[in-house]
């Protein structure tokens, strides 16, 4: 069902962290570690964000694109009664993230009803990255679009925390924290949280972090929600851990990871 999270393919595809943190055999052969894997995905999320900023699409499109990109590189096993198992899992070696990332934005822009032209993506990519490894042509995008559709098993609906956030903040009396919460939610897409947790939990975790940062007493409000606060707090911890470790990540570290990827001929 398209707009009911609990019956959606998104809900059914949620994984545990350990299931997401698996590097494809082909990538491991190239020396890509789990840390590299995470860094490249984060770098690609940033790339999608930069491109989106240039072509001017809504944050929702960016979020959907990042979710697509992360899903393609994540192992999903489909159990088909009587037929057997089918696996959906692509390596960065086969599916170059430098083409996949802009194509995810391209596909997401169609899914979210604000189509961006492929030639614009080609144009702005050249503006953002002078490195020829980031170069691609329109035909590369069109080919990759179909590959992504297949890799996603044609599941295209993605739910995001933004909607829950905009409903929760007024309820929590935290309208003044809209900016910071929105920013926190945007930053969660540099992690794999969207593959692991229901979006409203991510929204709650961001509100929790914002409450702490703004020194806002919100205990009663959270209590009234009757949610599992352990889940919310664990997500909040992950977000804070991410910010903490993010300080150490240098451009060189990202480049080193990217350089392990084979360059397309």
């Amino acid at each position: 069902m398209a707009a009911n999270f609990w019956t959606s393919s998104h809900y059914k595809q949620l994984l545990d962290q350990e299931e997401v943190d698996v590097v494809h055999q082909l990538d491991r052969e190239k020396g890509i570690t789990l840390e590299d894997f995470k860094l490249i995905k984060m770098h690609m999320a940033n790339y999608i964000g930069k491109l989106a900023h240039n072509v001017k699409v809504r944050q929702r499109v960016v979020a959907t694109a990042v979710a697509y990109m992360r899903r393609v590189y994540t192992k999903y096993v489909l159990l088909r009664p009587g037929v057997g198992r089918k696996m959906f899992w692509k390596s960065m070696t086969e599916y170059d993230p430098r083409v996949l990332a802009p194509t995810c934005l391209y596909l997401a822009s169609k899914a979210e009803e604000s189509t961006v032209q492929a030639r614009l993506l080609v144009f702005y990519t050249r503006k953002i990255y002078t490195d020829e490894k980031y170069r691609y042509e329109i035909k590369d995008i069109l080919e990759m679009e179909m590959k992504i559709l297949e890799a996603l098993n044609y599941y295209l609906v993605v739910f995001h925390p933004y909607r829950a956030l905009s409903q929760l903040l007024p309820d929590a009396g935290m309208n003044d924290a809209t900016q910071i919460c929105w920013g926190l939610v945007n930053d969660t897409y540099r992690m794999d949280l969207i593959l692991i947790h229901p979006p409203h939990f991510i929204a709650l975790a961001c509100i929790y972090v914002a409450s702490v940062l703004k020194d806002k007493e919100n205990t009663a409000w959270f209590e009234e929600l009757h949610v599992d606060m352990n889940v919310v707090k664990n997500i909040a911890m992950e977000i804070l851990d991410f910010y903490d470790s993010h300080k150490m990540i240098s451009e060189e570290r990202i480049n080193a990871a990217m350089n392990k990827l084979p360059f397309r001929p």
Binding site: T7, E113, A118, V212, D215, T219, H226
Partner: protein, 548 residues
């Protein structure tokens, strides 16, 4: 989905075409059955035993080099999430990387309302059996109710998009098809015209004709009203002349056709009318009173006192906010009177009724998957969308008794937990980034801690709040893989009185009158409960709030 390596080109096959991708070889192509702006529709059979007919919709690669058509993307996106007996089911998606074309495979439906109406009007010259009209309408509303309760508006309902299954296990079952224009309507929707989309104006709701900027599910109900009238009279109800000149023309003639039958809308009957751009600007003097009295009943040849007329007039209510919803329509008296609507709309259950044999869809057997014609086309091709779906599992034709009293049910309650450790008074400085060390948040105290919660019997009254009308995201307190479904009888010691709201009863529909059969509970963290009401394979969740 998309099994088989679509990249491979096989030189080996029986057909003349040697460029055929592997996945295509699982089908025997029968021929072309439809053609639209998006591409072609083919009839095929799955190979081993050729038992199951499949309709394959081929999307052309758009000429301007902009990849997969956004219409195809949206159709796949929605159909992949949808599962209902009265909605087409996407069986498979295939990609041919060689020519970058996309194929959607659906179960094949032999008929559609366009052809059924045409057959009665032009061939047998006889009205459609009242049972068939009622059964078709009920199933159409049933599918639509499913879509609307999942926040999907179809936006292009018309007789050719409403398919009916031919001979076989699902004979006479209605399938709503063609979701290329369908939308999830949580976010405000752009007018169709903004996307350069043109749809038939005959079934278009008056608020859209008057320039309303946002769609609601009421636009689909207007279309259902028009289709209902067409099933009764075999003629389109409002057959306006379309203005095709500009991208978003003001369809004066269509409005005139509506006003002629329903009378002029008034601000009294439709308070927000004055806010609609085309009414407000009144450039073409539509505000001038020309038609007063309602002549709808004489147009559709129904007694103004008949339940059928009452239902129809509620579907054709001018004010979209007052227009009957699909859920309400399913509850209408019309469906409770004899003959009751059944699963096979084409064959009445009463013996002795004459069964009309509808013609099968013409198939152009000279066209192959590439759309190239090898011979002269033998027959004209139907305009309908020949796609349909099937649903696994038996369908029970509901018995339509009156609403039953709500049963007394009970359920256990869990202690609220995990809040004690939660302390927001702690300080965390902004400087130097966010230091998690300063924030007391227990880690690794995951959901395991909750497993030993004790069960507490709750005595009191529960109010059922309609969650479906709110954001479906906001159903708090779920835990993964913990869906507890309990029969009320297991918790006799707990006394609950579930007070269903009107909207709840409406959502259930006529085949879900009995709460007993459809009740289950989702028990989540702490003391929050959800009542899950299943209706076929859809479920509506309601939040239960204890009243102390």
């Amino acid at each position: 989905m998309g099994d088989g390596n679509s990249r491979g080109i096989s030189g080996n096959n029986n057909n003349s075409n040697s460029n055929r991708p592997e996945w295509l070889q699982q089908y025997d192509l029968i021929g072309k059955i439809g053609e639209g702006t998006y591409g072609l529709v083919f009839l095929a059979k799955i190979k081993p035993n050729r038992s199951k007919p499949i309709a394959i919709k081929k999307f052309k690669q758009s000429k301007d080099g902009d990849g997969v058509s956004p219409t195809a993307i949206r159709e796949i996106m929605l159909l992949r999430e949808i599962n209902h007996e009265n909605v087409v089911k996407l069986v498979n998606v295939h990609i041919n990387h060689v020519d970058m074309s996309l194929y959607l495979a659906f179960d094949y439906a032999e008929h559609d309302l366009y052809e059924i109406i045409r057959h009665h009007r032009d061939k047998v010259n006889q009205a459609i059996n009242p049972y068939t009209v009622k059964a078709l309408l009920w199933q159409l509303l049933n599918g639509l109710n499913y879509l609307h309760s999942n926040w999907i508006i179809h936006r292009d309902l018309k007789p050719s998009n409403i398919l009916v299954m031919g001979e076989g296990e699902e004979q006479g079952v209605v399938k709503i098809a063609d979701f290329g224009l369908a939308r999830i309507y949580q976010a405000p929707l752009k007018p169709l015209s903004d996307n350069g989309v043109v749809v038939t104006i005959w079934y278009r709701a008056p608020e859209l004709l008057l320039g309303a900027k946002h769609y609601t599910s009421a636009v689909d109900m207007w279309a259902v009203g028009c289709i209902f009238a067409e099933l009764l009279t075999l003629k389109p109800l409002f057959q306006g002349q379309e203005v095709k000149a500009t991208p978003n023309p003001f369809q004066l003639d269509q409005l005139d056709k509506i006003f002629r039958v329903l009378g002029h809308p008034t601000q009294e009957k439709w308070p927000t009318l004055v806010n609609l751009p085309h009414w407000h600007s009144d450039q073409q003097h539509i505000q001038g009173h020309k038609y007063d009295s309602t002549g709808l009943y004489s147009v559709v040849h129904l007694s103004p006192k008949s339940p059928a007329y009452d239902l129809l007039s509620k579907m054709l209510e001018y004010d979209p906010r007052k227009r009957i919803t699909a859920a309400q329509a399913l509850e209408h008296e019309y469906f409770r009177l004899d003959p009751p609507p059944g699963r096979n709309a084409l064959v009445p259950s009463q013996p002795g009724e004459k069964v009309v044999t509808y013609p099968t869809r013409p198939v152009d057997t000279t066209t192959d998957f590439e759309g190239t014609t090898s011979l002269q086309p033998s027959q004209p091709v139907s305009s309908g969308n020949a796609v349909s779906g099937s649903m696994a599992g038996p369908h029970v034709v509901p018995s339509r008794s009156g609403p039953r009293p709500v049963p007394m049910v009970g359920m256990p309650r869990m202690q609220p937990q995990g809040m004690a450790a939660y302390n927001l008074n702690s300080q965390a400085g902004m400087g130097g980034g966010m230091n998690p060390g300063n924030i007391p948040m227990p880690r690794g105290v995951g959901s395991q801690a909750h497993q030993q919660q004790q069960s507490v019997v709750f005595h009191g009254k529960l109010h059922v709040r309609d969650c479906a009308s709110e954001d479906p995201h906001l159903k708090w307190g779920y835990r993964r893989n913990t869906k507890i479904q309990v029969q009320p009888v297991h918790f006799q010691e707990a006394v609950f009185e579930v007070v269903p709201s009107d909207s709840l009863l409406h959502t259930l529909g006529p085949d879900c009158k009995s709460l007993h059969q459809n009740l289950s509970y989702k028990r989540f963290e702490s003391n929050l409960f959800f009542l899950v009401l299943g209706c076929h394979d859809s479920a509506v969740t309601y939040k239960l709030i204890p009243e102390h």
